[in-house]
Structure formats: structure tokens, C-alpha cells
């Protein structure tokens, strides 16, 4: 047993000593793996960053009500009567002006992006006067709140940064309508900062929505009030609605997109990994071939086959880990914190976020590299070990 470990150790040390002689091929294999890892980390950091941008701390205070079966506000629809019944449900916080609930609707408008000048979708939300109080953390940071009944809008800070023509005092012309920008706001949770807000009563006629809405946002009176609120709505025979906490709703929205990005990222990285795997295989076959005389000699002297296998695997692993570290470092340097915007596939609206190269991703990168290294070394190692000693000696 001791001697077996000794064998592994010595054979591995011998082979590591020869790496400098073939640093060229070792380095190119490492770079191939570095590329895979960099792409993998890069793409997944988009998903991570997006998740972070969309993540909201669990909030027991804000609920959203959609039509039953709707998985986004876009696909939801509620009549005036339904929103009135929802507003009467128990569990809603009683404010100075009555129950704190806001019936809202949602349209998409096209605006030119500052960065490229091309048009992109921006969500425009019609809200009622309680909307800001319902969210709790929404603040107008420049200008003022819109006045009810007027064609005035306030713009989320993210949208104001990304799109042109949204500065306070400017007038926005969309189709037949003109909107005056009167304020910039921040907060509001989730994607609100990427939105434009106006009075629901003004938005409805502008878009021929008659008296219909898409969602109701409600502020709940206590931490435990959500269940009471939800039960009341689901047992009301006049309503067919879906009730959830806004924080859960946002998590649900982002998980679809992050899942999509992750799938794409994994597929691209998977394909590249296949390429890198062949690179590693090729390198290790060359290594084994160039060292076949040494390997044959060691085995003739009585060294076992497994120390040979392990030393080849170890070397391959080492090269892969080197590549993995280079790739992870490069991805971290290039992508971490990189600002970007993407389309929310539920609402087709722009969402601003930053790439996030998290420790979890870095660990994953190293694991991918290690797997490539082990598979890349395994077949050459087995070949070296399986070859009968007498034949191995003849071939050298």
C-alpha cells in the first residue's frame, strides 16, 4: 500500500517534471479550456446579474391580483367591478383615503434607446393615486408626481437613463397622444424603475381600454394578512383571480428569463466544452505518446499500471485547472459589474442590470474545467496502461 502510494507520487512527479518540455501543447490545451470557462461564466453571469436585478426581498406587505390563469400582467384582465370587489376584501391596509389598493393597466410604447438610437419597448403603467403608497418605497427624486386627470407622466430612473426624451420638462409624443414628463422616480420594487407611470384614468381612454384594468396592487395591513386576503378573494364566487405577493410574482417573472439565459449559456458552453475536450484529449494523447518510452520502461521495471494512469490524469487535471483559473479570472475581469439591458420576455420591456460573476459561478467554472481535464486525460491514460509492456517496449 505504502509502495503503491509511493509509486503514484514518484511517477506523477516524474511526469510533472517534463511539463516544461512541452509547455506549448500544455498551454494551448489550457487556453482552450480557459475559453470555455470564460464563455460559460460570462453567459451565466448574465443570468446571475439578472436574477439579482429582479430579486426583491420577500415582502409580506404588497400583494398583486391578476385574472386567474394569467402568468403576467400582459395576459391578465380585470373589469372595474372586479377591481372594486378586490378593493373591498379584508386584509388590505386602511389608509387615510380608504383601502390602500391601486388598479393598474399596462401598455407598451416604443422609444429610442440612448445607447443605439434604435427603438425598444418601454412599459407604460396607468396607476391609481394609492400606487406609490401601496409600494411603500417609491420616491420622486426629481420634479413632482403627476396630477390626476392630466396627460402627465413620471419616469423610472432606469428608463430615464436608458431612453432619450425622458428628461423632466420634455414632451413625449406617442401616436396621437402627448405626454409631459413631470418627474423621475426611484424604488417601487422589481422592474418599476424601468417603467413610465401615469394616471390610469388618462391611460385607459388613450388606449381605448374602456374601463378595464390588468392588475390590482394592494398594501396589506399586517404580516399575516396575505392569507386572509387571498382566501377572501378565492372564496368570492364573483371573482376568478390569482393572488400572490408581489415579491413572489417578481421572482416567478425573472425565473423564466434566467432559466432561458441559463439554458442558452449551458448549451454554448457545452458545445465549446466538447471542443476543448478534444483539445485536451489530443494534448494528453500527445503527452502519452511522447512519454511512451518512459512509461514502458517504468512498467518494465515493475511499476504498476495504475500509477501511470493516475499520473496522466493528474497532469491533465492540472493543465485543465490552470486553464479554468485563467478563464475564470478573465471572465471576472471582463464581465463582473458590466452594465447591460435585456428584454423581459414576459412584457417585452427593457430591464437594466449588471453582469454578476459570483463565487458560485467561479466554483462551477473550476468544476467544468476539472471535468474536461479528467475526461481528456482518462482515455490516453487508459491506453497507456492497457498496452502490454512487451509491445510498449517494442514501439519505443
Amino acid at each position: 500500500m505504502i509502495s503503491w502510494l509511493n509509486q503514484i507520487l514518484s511517477v506523477t512527479l516524474f511526469s510533472l517534471r517534463t511539463i516544461p518540455e512541452r509547455k506549448g501543447s500544455a498551454f494551448s490545451a489550457a487556453i482552450g479550456i480557459a475559453g470555455v470557462v470564460a464563455v460559460l461564466v460570462g453567459v451565466l453571469s448574465i443570468a446571475e446579474g439578472f436574477r439579482a436585478a429582479m430579486s426583491v426581498p420577500p415582502n409580506q406587505h404588497v400583494a398583486i391580483v391578476l385574472r386567474s390563469g394569467a402568468d403576467s400582467e400582459m395576459t391578465s384582465g380585470l373589469s372595474r367591478e372586479e377591481t372594486r370587489l378586490i378593493g373591498l376584501a379584508p386584509g388590505i391596509h386602511e389608509g387615510p383615503n380608504g383601502p390602500m389598493a391601486s388598479s393598474e393597466l399596462f401598455v407598451m410604447i416604443n422609444l429610442p434607446k440612448k445607447s443605439t438610437g434604435t427603438d425598444a419597448n418601454v412599459p407604460m403603467r396607468g396607476v391609481e393615486k394609492e400606487a406609490a403608497a401601496v409600494r411603500g418605497d417609491l420616491r420622486v427624486i426629481q420634479g413632482r408626481m403627476f396630477e390626476s386627470g392630466r396627460s402627465e407622466i413620471i419616469v423610472g430612473a432606469g428608463a430615464a437613463r436608458a431612453f432619450s426624451g425622458l428628461d423632466v420638462g420634455q414632451t413625449l409624443r406617442v401616436g396621437a397622444n402627448e405626454w409631459k414628463v413631470v418627474g423621475i422616480f426611484s424604488g417601487g420594487g422589481g422592474a418599476a424603475e424601468s417603467e413610465i407611470w401615469t394616471d390610469a384614468a388618462v391611460l385607459q381612454p388613450a388606449y381605448n381600454r374602456e374601463d378595464s384594468f390588468q392588475s390590482v396592487y394592494a398594501r396589506l395591513e399586517t404580516e399575516g394578512a396575505f392569507q386572509k386576503f387571498k382566501d377572501a378573494l378565492s372564496t368570492n364566487p364573483q371573482l376568478k383571480v390569482r393572488t400572490l405577493l408581489q415579491s413572489d410574482f417578481l421572482a416567478e417573472q425573472s425565473s423564466i428569463l434566467t432559466g432561458f439565459i441559463e439554458t442558452i449559456g449551458m448549451s454554448i458552453a457545452g458545445l465549446m466544452a466538447l471542443g476543448a475536450l478534444f483539445g485536451a484529449l489530443n494534448t494528453m494523447y500527445t503527452v502519452v505518446a511522447s512519454r511512451s518510452r518512459e512509461i514502458a520502461t517504468l512498467r518494465a521495471l515493475g511499476f504498476g499500471a495504475s500509477p501511470v494512469v493516475i499520473s496522466v490524469l493528474f497532469e491533465s487535471l492540472l493543465i485543465a485547472l490552470l486553464g479554468g483559473s485563467i478563464g475564470a479570472a478573465a471572465a471576472y475581469g471582463a464581465f463582473d459589474g458590466f452594465q447591460a439591458a435585456t428584454i423581459n420576455w414576459q412584457s417585452f420591456s427593457q430591464i437594466a442590470f449588471a453582469f454578476a460573476v459570483t463565487p458560485k459561478l467561479l466554483v462551477m467554472a473550476i468544476v467544468w474545467a476539472a471535468v474536461i481535464g479528467i475526461i481528456g486525460g482518462l482515455f490516453p491514460a487508459l491506453r497507456a496502461a492497457r498496452l502490454p509492456v512487451a509491445i510498449a517496449l517494442r514501439e519505443t
Binding site: Q7, E294, L298, L301, G302, G304, A390
Partner: protein, 232 residues
Amino acid sequence: MDVSQQPLVRLEGVEKSFQRGSEQIHVLANLSLQVGRGEFLALMGPSGSGKSTLLNLVGGLDRPTAGAVEIDGERIDQLSERQLAAWRARHVGLVFQFYNLLPMLNAERNVELPLLLTHLSRGERREHVRVALEVVGLSHRTRHYPRTLSGGEQQRVGIARAIVNDPTLLLCDEPTGDLDRKTGDEILTLLQALNRDQGKTIIMVTHDPHASARATRTLYLEKGQFSTEKPE
């Protein structure tokens, strides 16, 4: 019968054939051989006659297709691959035509290789290596790497490696095949001394009559059979 009276090497009805594609190549057919303790046997014969194949069977580097290979009373043809490796480490010293030294190790480390398979301590290994290098006359070159040594010196390192674990049997496949006459003679003198002074049993494959002249006995292999007479 006293064990020391038995031949050290005994081959009985040994056959060896190789599969090359669909073709069977019969290299050794019904071959029998006995080599006594302390013999220095030279094995000659034309290229392709099966000399290396025979040496591989005696050294446990390969197994016969049929027949028995008994070394020091042990049937090595019945050992598994793994057992054979362990057996080689203990019982045979191999000397190669092209020395087969590990280029990344210096002379000392190359000689130490077989000892890594034993339970000897570091200090004991060092002592064995020192003695072996002294026997081959290379005490002044212990830290040299193979590429800085001449062919003759490399072969001395190879011989030191072959004798360092005090094997029963020394097997040399054309040990002077890559050396000039003078250097080859020195190597042969060394082998002869090992045989005469240290009692090593040696089997040496060679094409060179000068080399076989140093041996105590010479066998000619032709088409997988021994011919007692020297050809021509």
C-alpha cells in the same frame, strides 16, 4: 533435490505466436531451455528470429502462448499481469539497447527507480545506489542527467539500475548494440565482472561475435528453434 542444484531458468515446450491482423505469426515453437545459476549465456541469431521475444518471456515481460516458464522454481507464466510486475521488480534486472533512462532524472535518481518499489528507507536506498554506481565505475557522475552522459556512461547507469536491487537474473537485449567497439568492450568487461565476481546469472542477446565470446555459453536461435551449431 537441492534447490540450488536446479537450473535457475527452465523453459519447457514454450510456444509464442502473435496475432497480426488475421494472420498468426509463430515466433517460438516448442522451445526448451535451461540456464544454470552463474551462467553468462549469449543468445545470437538473425533479426526476427525471436531473441527479444524469448528474453521477454524469461523476464516476465510477456507470457507464452503455451508451455512453462520457470524461474528459480516459480512458474511465472501463470502469474497475472499485476503479479508479474511485482515479480519483475524483485527478480530481474533489465538492460536495454538504448539504455531507457528517464531523461528528467539524474543518474542517481534513475538508478534509484527500482528501489522505489521496495520498502527500503531513503537512507538505505541512497546506500544501495551509491554501491551500484561504484560497481559500474560512475561514482563521479551521480548528479549528471542522461543527456550530459556519453552512450557508454548511460549504459553504465542502465546496468547500475539493473543490479541495484540485487536481482536473481540479469537480462540484456543488445547492450552494446548502440556503442562503438571500445566502449562496448568496456561494457562487456563490466558484465563479465558482474558474472564472475558477483555470481550474477546473465542472458545477453547480441549480434556481435565479440560480445558472445565473453559469455560462458552461446545459443543460436533460428526461426524459433535453437541450433547448436554456429550458422555458416
